[in-house]
């Protein structure tokens, strides 16, 4: 009989969220690259051009959701990769909370940036 092998916690839902965010990111990351490199070009970037896109609420919402899902998917992916390499005990807890804090800083800074373009007050 096959032995059970998994780095996921039994009964957990993080594996499902990793896949749900993957399905979303496959589409939005491709869109992001296409829009910012093939529709607009690298040598044309200005604050005003970024501002004109970000002042559209649909684009602003999509980018904030993109930031949240990419942060979760990326950081959770890194955490799982480290668990696969045998991270346990105190080191595991230190890495886990470092990643949580880094994610929080990234989200706050990313949303502050989006707000600066959208004309919403930067806190």
């Amino acid at each position: 009989m096959a032995e059970h092998y998994s780095s996921f916690t039994e009964g957990g839902r993080l594996w499902l969220w990793q896949r749900i965010t993957a399905a979303f990111l496959v589409v939005v990351l491709a869109f992001h690259f296409f829009l910012l490199h093939f529709v607009y070009h690298a040598d044309e970037v200005t604050f005003a051009l970024s501002q004109s896109r970000m002042q559209t609420w649909t684009y602003y919402s999509l980018m904030v959701l993109f930031l949240i899902t990419a942060t979760f998917h990326g950081v959770n992916g890194v955490y799982n990769a480290l668990l696969n390499q045998g991270l346990t005990g105190t080191k595991r807890q230190v890495v886990k909370w470092t990643l949580v804090v880094a994610s929080g800083i990234l989200l706050v800074q990313g949303i502050r940036t989006a707000n600066a373009w959208a004309g919403i007050g930067v806190f």
């Binding site: 009989m1 096959a2 032995e3 092998y5 896949r19 993957a22 399905a23 990111l25 496959v26 990351l29 491709a30 690259f33 490199h37 093939f38 070009h41 690298a42 040598d43 044309e44 970037v45 200005t46 604050f47 005003a48 970024s50 501002q51 930031l67 990419a70 942060t71 990326g74 950081v75 992916g77 890194v78 990769a81 696969n84 390499q85 045998g86 880094a102 990234l106 800074q109 990313g110 502050r112 940036t113 600066a116 373009w117 930067v122």
Partner: protein, 130 residues
């Protein structure tokens, strides 16, 4: 009767000569994932110059995009992102039970398509750098 495959609790990269297509796909997916998450933090750090004002942001981006090295790194980033997307689709399909028996072929297809898209994108990514 099902058979077990004991890959151990820690992946042994010293066995790389024995790796099959699926193992290379796993390694490339991890590597591209690390690059993408590293880039995400760098990307937000650069973009957040917008908080300091329009001039600061525009000057930062124009200076960076004027460097040929940055344009070449962007081509590399595209290759990494395209592979991660294509192999990610492959993994989602395998998770749903689609194409497991031809997972090696879909890995090779991901690599070839990544190469083709990257090469075809070079003129667009380098435009205006000279």
């Amino acid at each position: 009767m099902s058979q077990s495959y004991n890959r151990g609790t820690i992946e042994s990269f010293g066995r790389w000569r024995e790796f099959s297509a699926g193992m290379w796909a796993w390694i490339f997916h991890k590597f591209t994932g690390w690059v993408l998450v590293g880039y995400l933090f760098t990307h937000i750090a650069v973009l957040s110059t917008a908080i300091e004002g329009a001039e600061m942001y525009t000057n930062t981006i124009v200076t960076l995009e004027g460097l040929l090295l940055v344009r070449i790194l962007e081509v590399g980033l595209l290759a990494v992102a395209v592979f991660h997307i294509l192999n990610g689709l492959r993994l989602l399909l395998v998770d749903l039970g689609v194409g497991l028996e031809s997972q090696d072929k879909s890995f090779y297809a991901s690599v070839i398509l990544t190469g083709a898209i990257t090469v075809a994108s070079v003129p667009t990514f380098i435009a205006g750098a000279f």
